[in-house]
Amino acid sequence: MNPRPFRIYLPATADIGSIFGTISTMLRAVGWDLGYKYDEFMRPTSGPNWLEALRQKRAQGYNPAPMYKQRLNLRDPAFCLREPAKNSDSPLREVLPKTPAFYDLMETVANIRNAEFHFESLPTLDRLEQHAKQVAQLAQQADLPLKHEMGAVLTRIGQLKAGNVPPPAKVAELMRQVQRSQEQLRIAAAQLAEARDAAKATAAAHARLEHLETEFEAMQDELQLAQRAVQAANHQTRETAPDVDASRLRPGDPWPVPPEGRPLRLLTRVVDLYDCEAVALLSDEVGSVAVDAARRWTELLPNGGTVILTDSGAGVALLGATWSYLGSLDSD
């Protein structure tokens, strides 16, 4: 069974950050799925140290590639793609289609990885679509688990190209996803702590420790992605919320009506806003804009205090005895 703990990120918008997210998770998934496929095949016949044995064999050969000069990582797409594509005697070819066209495809995807991680150019939707088509072909032909995700990726890219922006995912559902990720991370941390203790006692536990360390890192990445999705969804919700027209107000101006919204506490030293009802910092929900806003609003409220945050993201607080506009969460 493939225990890959993350899914390919579906872009919610056509902005560069979302495209980066999709490219990065897609290429990581290629490495992860291929690595597991190889390991499942090699371990029973060549033992648990097959990867290091293969590395040493390549390192002793004629003009070895630089990647064989250091410890190999089974989830690295560069190794998983280039080893079978470049070496006709590679034992990994046994679990792959044996056609020259397939090895060319592996080379192409390896070149995509290289170009993307060396920041050859800024990504666009067209480029992402080309990459996704190549990866989909590779996943289909090699029968990788990620083939089941590529359909959704290509559909989403098509929607974005046609201007049909998908509706924002429900914030509550995304928050639940973050909580699930946090819970998984907590369980993984407990297992990792246990494995580190065990590894001190026995060398055999080292392999399990390495596996858990990698999974722990992947789960941290997944949690970050989930948090970013929540922040993006919250941003869209604020943009569409009806509220007082604050476009003509400047920070410090009186707010025209009694403010309605969430009471938050501006913490000047923490540089964030605290929601005592949710027991959470605002930056958890909306990202770094909360930190930037807290910094700006501290100029008007140097000792902190209660701030009412309206649905559209306007900060309102009592300055003296007057409800006053502090500024918008999203802009300075």
């Binding site: 946090q182 991370l185 907590r186 941390a189 407990a190 990792l192 702590a193 246990e194 580190r196 203790d197 948090q227 506490r265 913490l267 030293r269 923490v270 540089v271 964030d272 605290y274 005592c276 027991v279 959470a280 910092l281 930056s283 958890d284 770094s288 909360a290 930190v291």
Partner: protein, 186 residues
């Protein structure tokens, strides 16, 4: 943002590069430091805590009890936790535990075992520290090859400049025992 459940408390630390401040170390010497502050919440209690890191070391301290009951004044600017920058580029914190009694109402730090740390958490201290980024934890003699008088004290090693890990250790060893002493449950 980083968020950790530590026994009855929730530690929250926003993600930003920190603020440059001037501070004094435990010997009273002034330093330019980078400060990352977070909050600890548990029921009606809300404490502001900071991690200050200067060249060669740092400290964690409660800076404000915000609207918490006055009893929590006993941890404000007291029971600080020192951070030692180790030669291998990591930060090391000692894991002693705060204790109070009628003779010593302001508390002091006492040597602890892992079981002492686990007890007020109703869980595993090592799991929380690993979640917060600990690279290693154990006796100073094991982690630092310390042969001095404190070799049997527990300590944790974190990547250099990691504010969240030391703050989690600080909450675990000072704030949570204080919450328990005040009768706060999960």
């Amino acid at each position: 943002m980083s968020r950790f459940q530590i026994g009855p408390a929730v530690l929250m630390v926003p993600e930003h590069a920190g603020t440059e401040v001037e501070t004094t170390d435990m010997g009273g010497n002034p330093h330019k430091a980078i400060e990352v502050a977070g909050v600890v919440a548990a029921g009606e209690v809300l404490l502001e805590i900071t991690h200050q890191r200067w060249e060669g070391g740092g400290q964690c301290v409660v800076t404000s009890r915000v609207d918490s009951p006055p009893a929590y004044d006993r941890v404000v600017n007291r029971l600080r936790m020192g951070i030692l920058a180790h030669d291998d580029g990591t930060d090391v914190c000692e894991l002693a535990i705060a204790k109070w009694d009628h003779k010593n109402p302001f508390g002091s730090m006492r040597q602890a075992t892992m079981a002492d740390l686990d007890a007020p958490l109703d869980g595993s201290a090592s799991a929380i520290l690993v979640e917060a980024g600990a690279l290693d934890l154990g006796l100073r003699s094991e982690v630092l090859a310390d042969e001095g008088r404190r070799r049997n004290y527990l300590c944790a090693r974190f990547p250099s400049g990691n504010a969240v890990g030391p703050l989690a250790a600080f909450v675990m060893t000072r704030v949570v025992p204080m919450l328990r002493e005040q009768g706060v449950s999960a």
